[in-house]
């Protein structure tokens, strides 16, 4: 204390009344510091309020609002009458974190009962890992009852499952969806954009219990999938499927297809393929049976192509229906190759060439035509280009350019060899004869009203060929079995050797394409049977009866008036020979 010689001590001695005098700069310093700090706080507050406000806003809103998803389901696929062919319905999948499960034995027993399994199997499943699916795609009622057990560690999630009421009869056209409701085959794939819904989301204010109490904003409007109406008629489809299946079984065939087209609109009313699969249970289905053969596979059509050769010849004016062609002795040699008729005929008129299906006759008529003329008719009838049905993976077959044709090519092409087509293309080409010269566009989608086609033949040419096609199904023709009681029909058989590698085999594709009623055609029906092995392989024996049954039933179902007495069918005596082509 004695060394207390500080300035303050001096000040005291001077008698000033301030025993704790402060340095003069101290209060402004403190004041300044406070101002600075307040300034900093104010600045920070302003910064958070106006500039960097995203984080706090988000934190704030997360305490009273929430973004919730608005579900959007996938559109239905329906047939032309509105019958559902594919419907999505919500299901739930149940999953668990085994490590987190807290449950009493009675709860687990109840869970096992709801999952339709034994408590032991359930326990085993829960031992399997960190995360297990207990059940996929269970009905919502069951899932709600599981949720009501309130077992910790067991959760569910919403999913959609697609059902196909048409099952195996429709599977090739409709296709199916895979995981996450995305189309994988058929129309489901081709029309994914149209059918697929996009879930939306919106922000709502929630209360203490987490229930939404007020709408704040719609973030993304949900976009529900749209319904898709196909041209298919469920009843005709089933009919086609049933008859095709019966024929394939009866003929011990490998595969087959059947197409029904509406003549006026070009709509595909039925398209059946075998083998097929059930889209509702498609574990272990072979890729083979998933193919829509009628659109994605080609074959050599055989004699079903002859009417186009004849049409080209009539159109060019080089022959008339009654022009006589000498087909004796039933074979024709062109260079090193020889063409045969299955049943040799003598002199035939052009009409009879179709009726008897003479290869030699067709070849002779074709050889009298410039290749370009024949090519043009075939190309105009839609051969060599995909039919543009809107189906994924459809093919166009092969029609070589006329420039490269040698006489033998032209001759074989006249009766449908050396050219490949698919069944829908073939059926569509026949609309030329059914409409009176117009090629109709084909579609798998429902259209309203008649559709205008592209003119290919003159009316009189088309009608002349139609008359020949009617002769072909009458006694003396190749396909009396195609006749239908009560209706006049017209059509052509085809029996083609299958091409394998570089040569033809002794396996066959039997086909029949025709339309009815012949007086005012309404339907074009094409039948194709691949490799019939039970007895006859001729189109007139194998495919024509299918055409007859399907046509008769389909016309009656559609209420088409008859154009002939019901006793119009005259079949040749049993065991009688049917003149056929190769």
């Amino acid at each position: 204390m004695r060394v207390c010689a500080s300035p303050s001590a001096v000040a005291v001695k001077r008698g000033a009344p301030a025993p704790f005098a402060l340095p003069r700069f101290r209060s402004p310093l403190i004041f300044g510091l406070f101002v600075l700090l307040f300034g900093l706080l104010a600045g920070r507050a302003l910064y958070l309020q106006w500039i960097d406000n995203a984080f706090l806003q988000e934190q704030g809103s997360s305490r009273y609002s929430r973004e919730i998803e608005v579900p959007a389901h996938r559109g239905r696929i329906v047939d032309r009458a509105g019958e559902p062919l594919a419907i999505s319905t919500p299901v739930k999948s149940i999953w668990a974190f085994p490590a987190k499960i807290e449950a009493t034995p009675s709860q687990l027993a109840e869970l096992a009962r709801l999952l339709e399994t034994s408590p032991r199997a359930l326990a085993k499943k829960l031992d399997e890992g960190d995360f297990v699916y207990l059940a996929k795609q269970v009905p919502p009622e069951i899932a709600n009852r599981i949720a009501a057990l309130r077992i910790k560690g067991i959760n569910d999630q919403n999913e959609y499952r697609r059902f196909y009421p048409g099952g195996e009869t429709m599977s090739h056209i409709v296709g199916f969806t895979g995981d996450h409701d995305v189309g994988q085959e058929g129309m489901e794939l081709a029309q994914q954009e149209w059918l697929g819904g996009r879930p939306g989301s919106r922000r709502v204010i929630i209360n203490r219990r987490g229930d939404a109490v007020e709408d704040v904003e719609a973030i993304r409007a949900p976009q529900a999938g749209r319904d898709l109406a196909l041209a298919i008629d469920t009843r005709l489809q089933y009919l086609a499927f049933r008859e095709l299946k019966a024929a394939i079984d009866a003929n011990k065939a490998k595969a087959g297809g059947l197409v029904i087209l509406d003549v006026h609109s070009g709509e595909i009313l039925a398209l059946a393929n075998l083998p097929t699969y059930n889209p509702n249970a498609r574990n272990r289905v072979a890729r083979e049976s998933m193919r829509n053969r009628a659109l994605t596979d080609v074959f050599e059509p055989g004699s079903t192509l002859k009417p186009f050769t004849i049409a080209a010849a009539l159109q060019s004016g080089r022959v008339r229906p009654d022009t006589v062609i000498q087909t004796a002795p039933g074979s024709l040699t062109i260079g090193p190759n020889t063409i045969h008729d299955a049943h040799p005929n003598g002199a035939l008129t052009v009409e009879q060439v179709i009726q008897k299906s003479s290869n030699v006759g067709a070849a002779k008529i074709a050889l009298g035509l410039p290749p370009e003329v024949m090519w043009e008719v075939l190309s105009d009838a839609g051969f060599g280009a995909p039919p543009k049905t809107g189906f994924p993976g459809e093919v166009g077959g092969r029609l070589r350019p006329a420039k490269g044709w040698k006489p033998i090519d032209q001759a074989t092409m006249s009766y449908g060899h050396g050219i490949s087509v698919n069944l829908v293309q073939l059926a569509r080409a026949y609309t030329v004869f059914a409409t009176g010269g117009e090629l109709k566009p084909v579609t798998l989608f429902k259209v309203s009203g008649p559709v205008s086609g592209r003119p290919v033949l003159r009316l009189e040419t088309a009608l002349a060929v139609r008359r020949m096609l009617e002769m072909a199904v009458q006694p003396g023709g190749t396909a009396p079995k195609a006749q239908v009681p009560g209706y006049r029909v017209a059509g052509k058989t085809g029996t083609a050797h299958k091409l394998e590698g570089r040569g033809y085999t002794n396996r066959f594709v039997s086909s029949f394409v025709g339309f009815a009623p012949a007086s005012n055609p309404r339907l074009v029906i094409a039948v194709m049977i691949d490799e019939p092995t039970a007895g006859s392989h001729y189109g007139g024996d194998v495919a024509a009866p299918v055409f007859s049954t399907v046509t008769g039933a389909a016309l009656r179902m559609l209420g088409v008036p008859t154009d002939s007495p019901v006793d119009n069918m005259i079949l040749p005596p049993a065991g009688g020979e049917i003149g056929e082509e190769t």
Binding site: P71, R76, E83, P84, I87, S88, T89, P90, P140, F163, P165, G166, G167, T169, D211, A212, V213, E214, D215, T234, R235, Y238, L239, R242, P485, G486, G552, L558, G559, V560, P561, T562, V566, D567, M569
Partner: protein, 90 residues
Amino acid sequence: MLRVNLLLLAVLVACGLSLVTSRHQARTLFVELEREQTKARGYEIEFGQLQLEQSTWAMPARVEKIAREQLKMTLPLPGRVEMVPGGGAR
């Protein structure tokens, strides 16, 4: 002056209360709307399921099987069909 102020105060209180009530009403209605919408979605789903069920029962294959086996029905022979001209046929 005081009276005007009191009046304004009363108006203010009234406005405030009406705001609270309308807010509350809006929320109640919203909750109700929400509930109805959930119900509507439920019905839509149920409709889909019923459609599915209906078309499963009405599958041509099933109808035909029952007609043939239980009801012993057959297709009429061509000779036994009488066509009525005109009529309902299109």
